[in-house]
């Protein structure tokens, strides 16, 4: 709660308090997904094109989500919701597919097995991200005094 100045239409800042740890972990996951993706693309793309393309897509989404959590403003707030929802959808769909149709995913992605290879962080993180975004949602100006007391960091 040190550096934020209240900016009315954009809602409360997303990069204060615990939100900073969230951003750091998102950044870490973005790095992990990018690293894996770079390796897979360099290594042998033809071996598992679906899984490898998905790794690359996941990496991009994590990077955008990290930026959206840091950047202020209503537009980025929406981008954060979209990317984080996409991640939750991705980890659930790919998690299920990797169990029921392992042939489609012979190689690992960050989302395989519900993110088991990454300590289930990819599964837990979108949920925490959504809770955080909800608690930082933009509100009408009339509600601002109430909001000031409810967001002690």
């Amino acid at each position: 709660m040190t550096t934020t100045t209240p900016s009315r239409p954009t809602g409360p800042s997303r990069s204060t308090g615990v939100g900073r740890v969230l951003i750091a972990v998102y950044g870490l996951l973005a790095l992990a997904a990018t690293g894996r993706s770079v390796f897979q693309l360099l290594d042998d793309f033809d071996k598992a094109p679906v899984a490898y393309s998905l790794s690359a897509l996941a990496a991009v989404v994590y990077i955008v989500a990290t930026v959206a959590l840091i950047a202020p403003g209503a537009v980025w707030y929406r981008v954060a919701w979209i990317t984080i929802s996409f991640e939750l959808l991705g980890v659930l769909v790919v998690g299920l597919l990797s169990i029921f149709d392992p042939i489609l995913f012979p190689a690992k992605t960050v989302w395989s097995g519900f993110g088991a290879g990454y300590g289930y962080v990819p599964l837990v993180l979108p949920v925490l991200g959504m809770l955080w975004l909800y608690s930082r949602r933009p509100r009408p100006a009339a509600e601002l005094p109430v909001e000031a007391q409810s967001t002690g960091a």
Binding site: R20, V21, A32, G35, V38, D43
Partner: protein, 122 residues
Amino acid sequence: MIEWFAYAQIAVALAAGLLAVALGLIGRRPADLTMGATALVGVLLVVQIVISLLAPAFGNTATGSALEFWVYLVSAVLLPPLAIVWGLVDRTRWSTVVLGVASLAVAVMVYRMYQIWFVQVA
């Protein structure tokens, strides 16, 4: 990679990580202790780079993919400096937690590197 050095590295990174997360959660700002521990984790990674560059010349080669190993190592070595810069810029308790998260991630990554080097047979 040298087996005992990898173990030592994982132990130091785990200890540094748990210490920083705990101190951060009880409200400590980044201090010499937590920053120093993270810096130590970073220095050990640089040593690991030197070891892993030289090891193949002595017949100690990775059993798994060397490319994957280096992607992990290069990513890992970025983490401590980034976390330390974060800690210098953002002087709150949460930076201490971030320092810890970085060290814990390094511990996991070194463990993966260990597996690629010694366990995987590709």
